[in-house]
């Protein structure tokens, strides 16, 4: 499918031509980290939200004095890119306290005096409650004020409402594409879905919607799975390497459901525009399919895994963490225990982002698939 090829090209680039031309036409671009920074607010302030990424990283060596090697490779790649000037095209970057590694990037970025000048830390609550929603609303308002002051713009309620409609449309389209994977004959691979996610988070929203509509149309009648493929549920955080996903799928599986930052987590739950737009946004971002950083939502995340296994007819789970990601280390323990309760096959992978080691990964994945097939055969016999 042409559109998927086009999106894959964009996914593998740090800056794409659409962004470049928007920029040359005077449009401003705002980088942001993590799924808890509201894109609607950035859009309403007149920026193109750009999800920060490690793709096309020059390696981590530039930032090695700022971060010890025991820090997550996603963060070290992004920071090295910043030192390398790869993010100079941005007008600002919004950080959030997603994890300790990411949060400290804000400190190092300021200390190293790297471009751009507008660097903002958005502290997001770690629990879901009325009080935390109120706190988060206050933080969103502070962010909005900071952008208004720095860039001399006004964020109106109308602009926020329009943004909510647009971003909900994006979420809806992504959900429809995602749900296509329920089919016995799967029309889209996990690696392709990851490409889509990387691409649309680096494009203006109207163009992203156009592309998603094309993808959805193109899926009609398309089949990319074979009968032998194992249907996989994949849980991970900052997965960006399309090749890595391909490696897994080329070993005899197909990812049909996920719990990945650049996957279901990004578009799960719509913003319910019933009351004040800021309150609606705060509610959605705090209650969407949560990251392990959220401390009182663990049981819902586990229930989500069980539901996806059933709905998407999953054969096996792959849960992967980037080395030194503490949050995902805990989450892996929970996944393994939950899978154990129903005797469900699960493989955990621990690796560096763009870190090689494919030999070992291939062996693990292949052995795991051999194990799953063996168990299946034995139970059938």
């Amino acid at each position: 499918m042409e559109i998927l090829k086009e999106l894959e090209t964009i996914a593998k680039q740090n800056v794409n031509t659409t962004l470049e031309s928007a920029r040359s036409n005077g449009k401003k671009i705002m980088g942001y980290f993590c799924s808890y920074v509201p894109e609607e607010v950035i859009h309403a302030a007149g920026f193109i939200p750009y999800r920060m990424r490690a793709v096309e990283s020059p390696g981590t060596s530039l930032g090695d004095t700022y971060f010890a090697p025991s820090i997550c490779s996603f963060v070290r790649h992004c920071f090295s890119k910043a030192l390398n000037g790869d993010f100079d095209f941005l007008d600002g970057v919004i950080f959030m306290n997603g994890c300790d590694h990411n949060r400290r990037m804000h400190d190092n970025w300021r200390y190293a005096k790297i471009k751009p000048e507008f660097l903002y830390m958005l502290p997001v609550p770690h629990v879901v409650s009325d009080a935390s929603t109120q706190k988060y609303m206050n933080e969103i308002k502070k962010l909005a004020r900071a952008m208004e002051t720095e860039f001399d713009v006004t964020i109106t309620a109308r602009a926020l409402e329009d943004a909510i409609i647009l971003y909900n449309k994006k979420r809806d389209l992504l959900t429809r594409i995602y749900e296509n994977r329920k089919k016995k004959e799967v029309p889209i691979k996990g690696s392709e879905f990851l490409s889509i996610m990387l691409a649309i988070t680096a494009l203006p929203i109207d163009i992203a919607i156009e592309k998603l509509e094309l993808v959805l149309k193109g899926l009609e009648g398309r089949v990319v799975s074979s009968d032998d493929d194992l249907r996989l549920f994949m849980a991970a955080v900052c997965t960006e390497e399309i090749e890595h996903m391909e490696l897994i799928e080329n070993s005899g599986g197909i990812v049909v459901a996920d719990k990945i930052c650049l996957g279901r987590s990004h578009f799960h739950t719509l913003v319910e525009l019933k009351d004040d737009p800021i309150r609606a946004i705060a509610k959605r971002y705090l209650t969407h399919l949560s990251c392990p950083r959220m401390m009182d939502d663990m049981r819902r995340r586990m229930a989500y895994m069980h539901d996806e296994i059933k709905e998407y007819n999953v054969d096996a789970i792959i849960v992967e963490k980037l080395e030194f990601c503490t949050l995902m280390a805990g989450e892996t323990f929970l996944y393994k225990n939950e899978a154990g309760k129903i005797d469900f096959p699960i493989l955990s992978l621990d690796r560096e982002l763009f870190g090689g080691g494919t030999g070992q990964i291939k062996t693990r994945v292949q052995a795991f698939f051999e194990q799953v097939r063996n168990i299946k055969e034995m139970s059938q016999n």
């Binding site: 080395e323 621990d350 690796r351 080691g357 030999g359 070992q360 062996t363 693990r364 292949q366 052995a367 795991f368 051999e370 194990q371 063996n374 168990i375 034995m378």
Partner: protein, 257 residues
């Protein structure tokens, strides 16, 4: 039927030929500069030993890190499945296999058909692998092969960090400064590596019928320590335990499991 199994590992390449269910030849060599060259060399040696030509092989299965893109291979299987099946084929009572190779260490549980039921493999860290033993042996100035026998002469327990091979090396150097006897350091190295393997293998439910495969199975020091720590006795395999990957691959190729 003539079936071949070829295991191209990180330090050695191994090959086994099975004819009508019996082993006719086997070989272990140090790896060459490329996986293909290693595979070709070991296969040419093993076929000539059996008085065969490559064309005589009906089916060939490759395994190990170099298992891909070998032109004469008909299939490839993970070394985890191969080690499991190889050991099981030689002794049908085997249910758990601890394999310590050059760059990885794994514990494999197999079912009644010899196929993988569960497994655990070390992460990237080299602690608890043949590679770390090689480095540490070099640090104390003895050959890898001597590490086991030398350690048996130890009379004093000395402590060694076992969390990571770099920490281990630092501690070994510290012991050298302190003039700790080589035999005692050798013993501490084997103990530390065994402890890592024990930690790893506990993730798989160990059953009584257990054997050890891979290059490190030849280090009597590590083997003794493992038996002591796991409170088990390894079953002796009728063939060289380093050959189990190739053996399992040959069984896969012959489809006689």
């Amino acid at each position: 039927m003539i079936a071949a199994g070829c295991d191209i590992g990180s330090l050695t390449a191994k090959a086994v030929i099975i004819r009508d269910g019996s082993i006719v030849s086997k070989k272990i060599i140090r790896v060459k500069e490329t996986a293909l060259k290693s595979a070709e060399t070991v296969m040419s040696m093993v076929t000539s030993e059996a008085g065969l030509k490559m064309e005589d092989i009906d089916s060939c299965c490759t395994t190990g890190y170099g298992r891909y893109d070998i032109p004469f291979s008909d299939m490839n299987k993970s070394q985890i499945s191969c080690h499991g099946l190889g050991a099981f084929w030689l002794d049908r009572s085997i249910r758990t296999i601890i394999d310590i190779g050059g760059q990885d260490c794994k514990a494999v549980a197999v079912g009644e058909n010899g196929m993988v039921k569960d497994f655990i493999m070390n992460e990237k860290c080299a602690a608890g692998t043949g590679r770390s033993l090689e480095i540490l042996a070099k640090t104390i100035g003895i050959e890898l092969e001597e590490l086991g026998p030398v350690s048996l002469k130890s009379k004093k327990e000395v402590e060694l960090a076992n969390k990571c091979s770099i920490f281990m090396e630092l501690d070994v150097i510290q012991h050298l400064y302190n003039k700790t006897k080589i035999r005692d350091i050798a013993n501490a190295i084997n103990t530390a590596v065994a402890r890592r393997v024990v930690q790893l293998s506990k993730a798989v439910r160990l059953e009584n019928d257990i054997c050890i495969t891979g290059g490190v199975s030849k280090n009597i020091g590590v083997v003794n320590k493992l038996e002591e720590m796991l409170k088990i006795k390894f079953k002796q395999l009728p063939e060289d335990p380093q050959l189990m990957g190739a053996m399992g691959a040959a069984v896969f190729a012959a489809k006689i499991n």
